[in-house]
C-alpha cells in the first residue's frame, strides 16, 4: 500500500520540494535532537502540510538507509531517535573512560517490580521482595527519569503509586511495556534447569568453600 507513490501535499515555505529533501531535513532534525521526536512533532516542521503516513514512510526509508552505519534510527515509546549501536560503545568508552554506574541488584529488582507490576506502592515492592525498600533505591530510579509517582492508592496512609515512564522505555529502545521480556513462569523455569538460579555469585561464596 505504502509502496504506491503518495502524492505530496504541496509544501511552499521556502521549502523542500521532494521526498529526498524532506528526508534530508528529517534526518538533520533527528540528529540534532537528543529526545525522541513523535510523528506529529516531526510533521510540525513542515507546517503540518505533509501527511503523517508520508512522514512515517520516509522515516522507515531513513532507518533502512542507516542500517549499515554505527548509528541507527529507532522507533521507541515517545517517537523516533538516533542512537549508537551497542558495538560502538567500546570505542566511546575509550574516549570517556569512566563507565556509567551499573545498577545494584536491589535497584534492578525494584525496577522490575515497578515495570511488571505497575502501578505499585513501596509496600507492594516490599511484600514481593521480602525486605524493606531503601528510599535511596527509589530515588535513583526517579532521578534517572525511569520511575515516577502517578498518584496515591486510596487506602489509609495514601501510599504513593509508582509506574515506569516513557523515558524508561525510550532508554531501553522499547516502544511499549509489552516489549519487555516476558515474565517467565517459575515452574517452567524450574523444569528447564534448576541450577541457573544458583547464580555464580552465590555459588562461589557458598559451594566453593566445600572443596
Amino acid at each position: 500500500m505504502l509502496d504506491q507513490p503518495i502524492p505530496l501535499v504541496p509544501y511552499n515555505l521556502s521549502g523542500p520540494a521532494n521526498p529526498n529533501e524532506i528526508k534530508r531535513i528529517l534526518e538533520a532534525v533527528l540528529l540534532t535532537s537528543q529526545d525522541p521526536l513523535s510523528l506529529s512533532e516531526l510533521r510540525k516542521i513542515f507546517n503540518e502540510e505533509i501527511n503523517l503516513e508520508i512522514v512515517r514512510k520516509l522515516l522507515e526509508e531513513l532507518r533502512d538507509e542507516w542500517r549499515n552505519k554505527g548509528i541507527e534510527l529507532v522507533h521507541v515509546a515517545s517517537g523516533w531517535r538516533f542512537h549508537t549501536k551497542p558495538e560502538i560503545q567500546q570505542f566511546l568508552d575509550k574516549l570517556n573512560p569512566q563507565r556509567p554506574l551499573r545498577y545494584s541488584r536491589s535497584v534492578l529488582e525494584i525496577l522490575a517490580i515497578i515495570a511488571y507490576r505497575q502501578p505499585v506502592t513501596r509496600g507492594d515492592i516490599e511484600e514481593i521482595r521480602g525486605v524493606a525498600v531503601s528510599g535511596q533505591s527509589l530515588k535513583t530510579l526517579e532521578l534517572r527519569g525511569w520511575v515516577e509517582s502517578i498518584g496515591h492508592r486510596d487506602v489509609p496512609g495514601r501510599p504513593t503509586l509508582y509506574a515506569t515512564t516513557k523515558s524508561f522505555l525510550d532508554d531501553l529502545g522499547l516502544r511499549s511495556i509489552e516489549e519487555l521480556p516476558p515474565l517467565e513462569d517459575s515452574g517452567s523455569l524450574f523444569e528447564l534447569e534448576s541450577n541457573i538460579e544458583l547464580s555464580s555469585a552465590q555459588e562461589s561464596i557458598i559451594t566453593e568453600s566445600i572443596e
Binding site: R81, I88, Q89, R102, R105, A112, I128, L172, P181, A201
Partner: protein, 270 residues
C-alpha cells in the same frame, strides 16, 4: 552462550581467600570472610530460601519444611554467631518457617470451613514463585541494551543564529504602529496630514548617506544614470527638501559651472 543471565552481571563476585574456622555441617560451610558478602549477595530471606530450594533440588510447590527450616536456621545461626547485623526480615522469616512447620505437624483440622483445606505452605510458595519471577526479570532487564551504558544518544549541536532570537517586525506592523500613533493624535486635536511620496524621504536619506564623510559631492553624482524619470524627479525634490531643511548647501561658483552639494555638517564632525 547461556541464554539465562547469571547474577555476575549484577553483583561483582569478590575473591574469597578465607579459610574455614568453624565446624559446621558440610553443606553449610561459609568462610567467615564471606559472611558479609553472603549477606550482601542475598537480597533477603526469600532470596536465601530460593537459593536453598534450588540448590537442594527441592520442589517449590511441595517444600519439605523440616529440611528447609533446618538449613535456613543454620545460616541464621552462623550469622548471629558472628554477630553480623542481621536484617530483621531474616528473623521474621525464621518465625514464619517454624510456624508453617508446626502447623503441618498438627493433625488435619476438624473444621473444614477454616484454613484446614489450605496447605500452610501455599502463601510461602506463592511468594517464592513471584519473587523468583521478578528476580529473573530484573536480570533480563539488566541485559537489555541501556542508553548511556550500552549505547549513546546522538546529539549534533545546532548552530544557533543570533538573529532568530530577535523580535520580528513586518512592514504591516510599522504601518499599524503609524496608524495607531495618528489615531491617538487625531483624538486629541484635529490634524491634517498630507499625502506624501515616501520616496522623497528615502532619497533624502540616500543623499545624506552619499554625503557622509565627504566635503562635497558634485550635483550630477546624485543622479544615478539608471534612475527612471520619476526617480530623477524625486531625487531633485529630495535635494530641494534637504536645502529647505538646511541639511545641505548647494553652491555654484559660475554660471553653467559645476554645482556642489555640501553637507552643512560634514559627518566627520560627528
Amino acid at each position: 552462550m547461556n541464554q539465562f543471565p547469571t547474577l555476575n552481571t549484577i553483583v561483582p563476585v569478590k575473591e574469597i581467600h578465607g579459610k574455614f574456622l568453624m565446624d559446621v555441617p558440610a553443606d553449610l560451610y561459609i568462610p567467615p570472610d564471606a559472611l558479609e558478602i553472603f549477606l550482601d549477595t542475598f537480597q533477603g530471606p526469600l532470596d536465601l530460601l530460593l537459593y536453598l530450594i534450588r540448590k537442594n533440588n527441592l520442589e517449590i510447590l511441595d517444600i519439605p519444611m523440616a529440611e528447609l527450616t533446618r538449613q535456613y536456621m543454620s545460616y541464621v545461626e552462623i550469622m548471629r554467631a558472628n554477630q553480623l547485623e542481621l536484617a530483621v526480615e531474616y528473623l521474621l522469616m525464621a518465625a514464619v518457617l517454624i510456624e508453617i512447620k508446626s502447623r503441618m505437624l498438627l493433625p488435619c483440622s476438624n473444621s473444614k470451613d477454616t484454613e484446614g483445606d489450605i496447605d500452610p505452605r501455599a502463601t510461602l510458595a506463592r511468594r517464592l514463585i513471584e519473587y523468583e519471577k521478578i528476580k529473573l526479570a530484573a536480570s533480563r532487564l539488566n541485559d537489555l541494551p541501556q542508553a548511556e551504558r550500552d549505547f549513546a544518544l546522538v546529539k549534533v549541536p545546532a548552530e544557533k543564529i543570533m538573529l532568530r532570537c530577535l523580535p520580528e517586525v513586518s512592514a504591516n506592523d510599522l504601518h499599524n504602529a503609524w496608524l495607531a500613533l495618528f489615531a491617538g493624535i487625531k483624538n486629541k486635536s484635529h490634524y491634517h496630514v498630507t499625502r506624501e511620496k515616501l520616496s522623497v524621504r528615502a532619497h533624502m536619506s540616500r543623499i545624506m548617506r552619499q554625503l557622509r564623510g565627504r566635503e562635497f559631492i558634485k550635483f550630477h553624482e546624485l543622479f544615478n544614470p539608471t534612475f527612471n524619470i520619476a526617480e530623477l524627479v524625486v531625487t531633485f525634490i529630495a535635494l530641494l527638501e534637504l536645502v529647505r531643511e538646511t541639511l545641505v548647501e548647494v553652491t555654484q561658483s559660475n554660471i553653467f559651472g559645476i554645482i556642489y552639494v555640501r553637507p552643512t555638517n560634514p559627518i566627520s564632525a560627528i
